[in-house]
Structure formats: structure tokens, C-alpha cells
Symmetry: D2
Subunit: 349 residues, 4 copies
């Protein structure tokens, strides 16, 4: 009953096997192997256009180097107040941009409110250098609290970004989970709506460590080769990342894994909604369920072997919890077993 996080899972067998298969023989290092090149081309197909793609080792690296590529002195990136890059990356985005700032924007259900975004951007008038200058907007898809931006919501944010000449970045640590939730293609969830840069995460959805930084406009990423190397993210045996993507993207495996994770979350959600004592904090739309339990129930579940984390209530939800209640996050992954879900619901009662 491990619902702690999707990064508690290991690697999907097909991916692990592909890695094993790729371990033999000599191959050009530093991204120059045929496999690396082939997988890079695979991303062109995936996104239905020529993209620039750079493999890196962690999601924090993908997000940080995305911002580094479009960095401006005194730059300000607008993201949701609960964004991972703002809450959980130990200042890496600021570090890799030499101090460019992240500005928190509010919005319901973990998603940026376009009107509030516009208002926040207007706080940085072009001729007032003391405040710094806007440099990007970043959204998280799926969001940090398990919700999913609908296409029109992304388009509305993209419009605000474009109005101010700002590139739009998508932190896609759970890109696949959002994609299958919306039943869209990668192109339809990104550049056709105005997204310019994607942190295309695969680690949480079944890989060991495979993240791709995807630029819709390759010219915008011209210095990324140097930025990545200088950031210590150019792996000498780069093929081991390429091989993970090879299996991940083969024959729709990545979509199947995300569908499984989302389905497991949906079951958890149904069980919780139907339970007597627990309730949902807000609707789960991808592979994460946020539930409000009594502390006694939470304790009982842990005693029964369930692993999960408490979660700080979002700023936008004052009064979410009654006394004796706790907000918890339950994450499903490719590795989540239906039996574990059933047992969790059973123990919850």
C-alpha cells in the first residue's frame, strides 16, 4: 500500500530490460550515439514538428535549464504559488539563472488564474527597472495538487504570456498523466495552445531517470548545449537515458502506464468518496488524490501498512480542515497494484 509518491516506484520491466539490452557494445558518448539521435528524432514525431530536445537527469534540471535558456537579468518567472519549482527545488531555478526570481501567482485548484497572472505581470512595467523584468510564465501539468489544466485554460494563460512577449513553459513532470486524462496528443496539449518549452518527464511514470527538455522553437535553445554541459547534466553514457525513452515511447507504453496510474487514482478517489469518514479535498484528475482524513483514520491506515504523506493545505483553501482532520496525498503510479488500492479502501472503511 505505497502511495507515498510516484518516485518510490522503480523502473517498469520493459524499460529496465531495454537498459540491459543497451548496456553492451561501444557507442559515441555525450549524446552523439545513433540511439541518442534516433530518440531525439522520435520527439519530432511525438510533437509533430521539429523540436530541439535535450536529455537531462532530473526534473529539477529540466525546469532549471528551461529557465536558464531564456534567462534575463533581473528576470521574473510567473508560476503558481504551489508550483514545484517554487516549493520543492531548493532554489535550483534561481541558482541556474543566477538569481532570476519566481513570482507566485494564485489560482484555484493549483492552476494559475489568467486574470491574476495578467495583474501580476503588470506589476513590472517595462520602464521600471527596480522591479526587474518579466521573463517567462510556467505552468505545471498535471499540477502539484493533481489537477489538470484544460486546453482552454492553457490557451488563456498562453494569451496573457504572448501579450507580454513571454515564453510559456510547461513543467511536465507528470506530462503523460495529464495527457491521457485529457485524451490529447502532445502537440495539442502544448504548442498548438501556445506552450513554448516542455519539461517532458518520464522518471515518475516508469523510468529510472529520464527527463527531456523540449523546445518547440529550436532556435530559442541555441546555447542549451553549453548550458547543459556547464550544468553537469551532459551524461557521458547518454545512451542510457536514450534507451529509457526508447522503451518508454515504444508502442504507447508511456500512455498505458499513465492510464494505469490514473485509473488507480480514480479507484482510490471513488473509494474515498464512498467511505464514511473520509472525503476528497478536491477532485483528482490525474494520478494524485488529495483526501481529508481524520487523524485517527490516517493513523489506522499507516498501522495497516499504508505509506503516504501529509500535505500542507494550499493557500487558496483556508478552513479546509476541521479539527482532528489531516490532508494527505495519495499518489498512484505505473507500479500501483489494484489489490493495494482495494485494501486501502477496505481499511479506510
Amino acid at each position: 500500500m505505497n502511495f507515498a509518491s510516484d518516485n518510490w516506484a522503480g523502473a517498469h520491466p520493459a524499460i529496465a530490460q531495454q537498459l540491459l539490452a543497451a548496456s553492451a557494445g561501444f557507442a559515441a558518448p555525450y549524446g552523439a550515439s545513433e540511439l541518442d539521435k534516433a530518440i531525439e528524432r522520435r520527439f519530432n514525431e511525438l510533437f509533430e514538428r521539429e523540436v530541439a530536445v535535450y536529455f537531462v537527469g532530473t526534473g529539477t534540471a529540466a525546469n532549471s535549464l528551461a529557465l536558464a535558456a531564456i534567462n534575463r537579468p533581473g528576470g521574473v518567472t510567473f508560476c503558481h504559488r504551489e508550483a514545484h519549482m517554487l516549493e520543492d527545488e531548493c532554489g535550483a531555478p534561481e541558482f541556474f539563472t543566477h538569481g532570476a526570481r519566481l513570482a507566485a501567482v494564485d489560482g484555484e485548484l493549483g492552476k494559475i488564474d489568467p486574470a491574476k497572472l495578467a495583474a501580476e505581470i503588470r506589476r513590472f512595467p517595462a520602464d521600471f527597472i527596480h522591479a526587474g523584468q518579466p521573463m517567462a510564465v510556467s505552468i505545471t501539468q498535471a499540477s502539484e495538487i493533481g489537477t489538470v489544466y484544460r486546453p482552454d485554460e492553457i490557451a488563456a494563460i498562453a494569451e496573457v504570456a504572448q501579450t507580454h512577449g513571454l515564453p510559456l513553459h510547461m513543467d511536465g513532470a507528470r506530462f503523460a498523466n495529464a495527457l491521457v486524462a485529457l485524451d490529447l496528443t502532445p502537440a495539442d496539449m502544448t504548442w498548438r495552445l501556445g506552450v513554448d518549452i516542455v519539461s517532458f518527464g518520464a522518471t515518475k511514470n516508469g523510468c529510472w531517470c529520464a527527463e527531456a527538455l523540449v523546445f518547440m522553437n529550436p532556435a530559442a535553445a541555441k546555447d542549451l548545449l553549453f548550458i547543459r554541459k556547464r550544468a553537469a547534466q551532459l551524461f557521458s553514457k547518454s545512451r542510457f537515458i536514450a534507451a529509457q525513452f526508447q522503451a518508454y515511447l515504444h508502442d504507447g507504453l508511456w500512455l498505458a502506464l499513465a492510464r494505469h496510474a490514473n485509473a488507480m487514482a480514480a479507484r482510490l478517489q471513488q473509494g474515498i468518496a464512498a467511505s464514511g469518514g473520509a472525503r476528497l479535498a478536491w477532485p483528482a484528475e490525474a494520478n494524485e488524490v488529495f483526501a481529508i482524513l481524520t487523524q485517527a483514520d490516517a493513523e489506522r491506515l499507516r498501522t495497516a501498512g499504508a505509506v503516504f504523506y501529509p500535505w500542507n493545505p494550499p493557500h487558496a483553501t483556508p478552513g479546509l480542515l476541521a479539527e482532528h482532520e489531516t490532508l494527505v496525498r495519495l499518489v498512484a503510479s505505473f507500479a500501483t497494484q489494484p489489490d493495494d488500492v482495494a485494501r486501502f479502501i477496505d481499511v479506510l472503511g
Copy 2:
């Protein structure tokens, strides 16, 4: 006949299999798993003392974070003029230290000359802030040109470093190759001689991506957890690095792999020395052979399928090459086959 670099090899089967075995099940992320902890303890045994060990993904990361941990404003790290961190890391050490400088020190055979080191350090008197301040000495073991510091040479450098209160870092991207060449223990090649920090590389010697940053004095690394996370080098599924080290360090595998690589290099060296047209640039002491070929021979070898790189003659060797000659680097690894060595020598004639 691939002698291009040890990072053209893949992963040793035992390591690849261990990774596969570790792919199942749930484990705490971010270095908190039992396997991570067990392997960290394994390093205590290895170094015969309590060390602080941090897994990272690339050698550049290990070197850069080593310097970041001991960073000083206006800091200067003294390394050999041909050091990897100075020549081949795209400014990463400077980036991760926010501009601390690398100062080139000369010395024969790719190794720092202690007297020249002392002279260079003296160029930075303590009360002359304009020049900056010394912050570390770094040596590469085995060196960038395939030579190996002998214990007394390390001790002499350590003495200079200690005289000036500077920590001594060892870039051990080819630590194992040097270790078996000298037939020493890790402790005897490092802290017993005065080495304070080691970039303990395993990638070149049979892993996918496994580097450990080892601090002999754990207190000196107190901020490294934050430095590593902020540097985007904390892997969520950290166990996949731990698993590589598990196999690598098990039952002396790492030493066996290094001995094989060194033996293959020794055979190459013997063959070249015995050949009519080629000669050694300097003695190979680990797994890299630097040879002077006629350009015609080099061409002929490449046509026959040999893969290797030309190498810029070191600054300390003016007049090394006659006209029509080329300096080449031949690297052996755990994956080098005796037949390939034999064939190379055969083609060389």
C-alpha cells in the same frame, strides 16, 4: 577496435543485472532508501573511516560540487594545466562556485610539480585581495594523460596544500585504474597521504552513471545536501545509482575491471613500443596510452576500423612531434577485448 574513450563502453553485465534486479518494488526516494544508506556505509569500509558520501550523476558534477562545498569568494583552485576540470568541463567548476577561478600549475607528465604549486600559491598573498584567495588544490588520479601520481608525489603536494591551509581534492574519474596500478588501498591513496575530498568515479570503469563525492571529514560537507539538491543532482530514484555501486564494489569487481583495462593498455603499449613506426609519447601507467604515429599509420588504422582521438600535445612537451606525426590517445576499458588490441598492433605493424 574502439579505443576512443572509456565512456564509449556501456555497462558491465554484473552492474546492468544489478540495476535490473533493483528495478522492482518501492523504495524511499532522494537517497533515503535502505540500499542508498547501505552503500553509503560501504564507503566507510572502503575508506577505513567515517566519510560523507554523496552520489551524483556525472564526473563534472562531482568535481564542481567538491569545489562548491569549499568555495570562497574570489577563490582560486590550483590544478594541473591539463586538468579535466580546466580543459573539458565547459566552465562548470567556475559556474557552480559562482566564478571561483582555476589556476593552471605546470608539471611533467601531467602531474603538478609541488615546487611550482608552491610558487603559484605564493602569488596570492593573504593581504592582497585584488588577486583573490587560494581555496583548494586539485589533482587528477590517474592524470589526464594516463600517468599516475605515486604516493610520495601526492604527499608532497598535500604538504604544500596543508602549509597554505588548503584542502586537497582528488579528481578520481579513473580512481580505480590508478589504485590498481599502484596496488594501494583507497585509504592509502587518499587521506593517509593528505587527500581531503575525492571524486570517486565509477562511470568510466563499468557503470552507467555512478559518481560519488567523498569527504574524508564529514563536517566539511555539512551544506552538501543543499548544494547537491540545488545543483539538480539529487536523483529521486537515487537507488539506481546505489545499485550500480552495489555491484561495482561487490567482491572486488571494480578492481578486476580496472586491472583488465590497465592490462589491455599495457599490451597496447608493448605493441606500440615494439612496432617499427610508432612510439610512445610517454609511459602509460593506467588505462590510457598516448602514442605518436605517423599520420599515414593513423589513417591506415582508422581505415582498418580503429577508433581513437588525436590529442593536443601538452604545453610541457614542445617539439614532441615531428612533421607528419600525430599524437593520439588510446583508451582501454573493462570492455576492451584482447583481440582488438592484437589486431590494432597487427595493423600498426
Copy 3:
């Protein structure tokens, strides 16, 4: 009728004359002159203890280097949401700390609320590296909105800072204005209450460009000489800053100038309070008055020659303005003339 800002004023005649007097002759550069040393010692008297003092050229430099001196990887400095370093320094504090973050803390009247400070710090538990680590608390005295922390308020914040092992920095761009408002000595307004570092500003109060970074514990600033030089803030003809402080601190000039500025602000305040159409946004406690005018009155004053800026209502004051109203900031300085104040009040009616 210039109430735009205290940095629209030039230099007080006594300070300008001292500069002129100091322009002749040779003196050791880079802070080594006898005058530099004498003025540094003057700060020991001023603060009634041995302090470390570093002259820099701008207030932004003082604040940024204060944080640089106590920098930590992934570091977080807690300051008021309206703090100058957060709103008006173009990311300089983040830049000089390589990305350490500023966390906004709320509080009434431009002053940090100690309870909210404690709550915000607790969001960074020591063992949760993803969030970063607290590194400092910074207060602004006088505050960005013209209020002044009372001694007990500073002590309460210092207690929270000390509980968490954090140094307390005071941005004293308007140090003198606060000091005379409280009728305290520098020691009583700083270290006796728990303040560790002061950005001691003199530019706004009558100098050209004279800011001193004062560390109550000299040992805490040991690398500041290098930090300052590397930050391009070590002036070769450093005596020209020292000379400004010489006149500024001589015979209480600085206190007299601040008293004058505060008195002019008090008159403005009285006039506004007594006027028919305007009102005070909150009480002015130093040399800045924040007033709510009708837009018609603001226009009329500007037509009559008054110079002043509109001001964004603080986050903590929703509903501050009625329609047709505007919030404006009126700043008095050493150079403000009573006649200008009288005329402003007269025009306001």
C-alpha cells in the same frame, strides 16, 4: 515642492565641502588611507563596540553584500512583503547570493509580524532539503512605508530569529530617520535588541553616495573584503566615501539632518490631516508621509509644481482607496524647505 524622494536631494553643504577639502593630496587607495581607518574607528564609537565596517557605494550593494556574507546554499531570507530588497532591487540580493531566495512575510504597517515570521520559518523544516534552508531575517528601519519598528518590536523579531539560529539584518537606508524618531542610540536600536548586521545608509540623508555595511560580530564578516572587491564595490579612491561620513557623523550633523526631515514630514502630516479633502493612509513616523488624495487634488498639486509619486497600496490594506482616490508618497529630506511644505498644504486647501 519636491517630495518625490530623499534621493532627489543633492548633498548637504557641509558634506560637499568636506569632499572638496579631501580632494587634495595623496592617500592610500582601496580603504587603506588614514581617513578611511579613522572613520572605521568612528563607527566603533558610534555603536559602542568593536564592529566591522565596510564602505560601499549603494544601498543595494549594502543589502546584497550583507546577505552574501551570511549566504547558504538554498538559503532563504525572510523580509517584509513590501521590503525594498524584495520590491526594488531588481533581484540584486538574489544575484549576489547566487540565487538565495527572499521570502515575503506579512505584517501591519510595513513591519514584520513576529508570529507570522515564526510561522513562515517553520515552513522550512531542517531535514526537508527540497524547500531550502533559512539563512537570515531582514527588517527595514524606517520601513518602506515610513513607519518605525519600536524597540520591543525589534526585540520580538530578534527572538524569533535567534530561536532559529538566524542572523538579523537591518536595512537602514533611513537609519537616522528612525533613530531620531525613537530617540535612541545606534547601539540601543541595533545590537542591544539583537540586530547583527546593519546597512547603515547615509546617501538619502545628505551624502552623495555613502553606505556602510556594519557587522556587530567582526568574525562573521571575515570574507567581506573579498566579497566586496569581487562585487566591484571597493572604491580605489575610497577616501571620498570616508570623507562624506566624516562630515556626516561630525558633531551630530546626521541626527540634525534626520530631525529636520522628520519635522518636515510631521508638518506635512499635520497639514494633510487638517485639510478638508485629503487624509493620511497611516501615521508617518519618520520622513515619509503616505496620503490619500482625490485624483483631482493630486492633479492640482502637480500643476502647482509639487513633485511626488503615486504608491501601490500595500497588500495588507485592501479597500484603502475609494474611487477617484490615489495613494501618494511624500518624502521629506534634509533639503526640504518649510516654505515648500507650507505651500503644498496651502494648495491642498
Copy 4:
């Protein structure tokens, strides 16, 4: 007899008086005053084209922000081995560029050898990211050892820079001294020869603290306003720098001061050449004389009240000194008195 450095002098009376005159009245801060704007326009005249000009407080700031404006990840700036930015700025250029490196180029008499520059740049092939990427060439005019690049020498370096697409920066801390030595106009010594960016120093030649960063192509400096503010180099009372330039550039004062300094250096040189025991290390071409004295003579001069510094012999001059000899630097400035020169020569005998 102070020949220690031109920054031991104070301010020229005309400049000090202009500062005094500018101290009264209100003026828009942060470079927005009429005086600031007028002086910026004055630079257009001076350079006979529309330039972008930014006032900063120190020469280190000018050089560092010049590089920051053209910064590239993994960037490498080529400068002479004895360049001030490489030897004497405590890593500031690296700091403000987040780790871009300075590569030392050799050349006789303190001046870059164009052929060696080309060879050094070729060490960074465009497709070899490990080495980093060239980003600029910087020359010092007058050089660190008192020599002056002739126009054809600048043009030859500019040609190499342009061939590789690199902007050419001129560190003009002693711009005026070089200009009058060559009897050229600013345009003829800079952009007409291919110089793109100038650190236009005035501090050493009679100002308190007045440095201007001049971009021949204003579009290349579009982010400099943010870079400067973030670097804490935007002075609130910016007019105090503008006023210094006002007097400095008025009626050829700056050229007269430089001519005086150079003439004093020429007299020193003549006297030394004619003396029995001392000799010139190399010809003085601006306001600095490098002389080889016996240690006994140096001691005797110091006892007689002469102030001057020893100087490390340049790398390019092995065997410069006989035993018992010392290399010293003698700097003349606007403030150097003929009597002091005469007395120095007299004591030297």
C-alpha cells in the same frame, strides 16, 4: 614623491568644484536627471556616433558589466596574461558572468600578439562544447605595463576577433593617457579600428569615481540597465558621477590632465635612462614607468620619501633582473608635481 599609483591622487580642483556646484537642488535620481542625459549625449559627440553609455562606480564594475552584457554560457574571454581583469579584480569578471572564464594570451610588452590570440581561439572549436565557447576579446589601453597599442596593432586584433565573431572590448582605465600618447580621437582609437565596447575610465585621471561603460552598438547593450541595477551599480544620486564627467570632459580638461601625467612619466623616464645605476625595463608610453633599480637604490629612494611599488616581472621577460635588482612601477598622474620628479631623479643620482 608619490609614484605609487594614479589612484593615490584625489580629484582635480575643477572636478571637485563642479561636484560642489552640483550638490544643490533637486534632480531626478537613477540617471534620469537632465545633467545625466546631457552628459550621456556628450559621449555621442566624443565618439562621433550614437553610443550607449552607462555610468558605474569602479573600473572593475565597468569591465565586469561589459562582459556581463555579452555573456555566453561556458564563455571564454581572451585577454593578455597581465591584464588587470585577470590579475587584479578578485574574480569579479567571472562573478558577474556566473563563471565565464578569462583565457590568458601572451604577447610582448603587455600587448596581445594577434597570432597567439588566433591560436588560442582555435583551441575552442565550435562543435567541442567541453572546452566552452569564445565570447570576447579584451585589450587594455594603455596596457598594464604602461605601453600603448598602436592603431595597427588594435586593428590586427580586431580582425582576429571579427573573424571569430567576437566583440572587442577595451579596458580604458587609462584611456586618456593612451589617447594623448597616440594623438588620436576617441573614435579613431576605438570603433574605427573595430573596438565594440569601452570601459572609459576617468577615476585615475582626476575624478573621484567616474567610469563609463560605452557600447558602440547601443542594441548590444539592451539589457544593461537591468544588469547595472542588479549589480548594485546604479547610483541614486547619479548626477554626482555625471557632474564629474561634466568637468572632466569640459574644454579638454581630461586631455590636458593626461598630457601632464604622460609628460611627468616621460621626464621620469629620461632621468632614469640618464642615471648611472637604474635602467628602464621597457619604454614607457603613457603615464607609467617601469624601472629596474638596485635594491640599494630603491631603499635609498624610499628613505628619501619616494613612494612606489615593486612589480612582478612579466611572464614574457625571464631573466629581466640581475641579482640585487628590483623591478618597480612609477606612476604619474594629473597631480604629480615636476618638483617631485626632479627630486626623485636627483636622489637616484
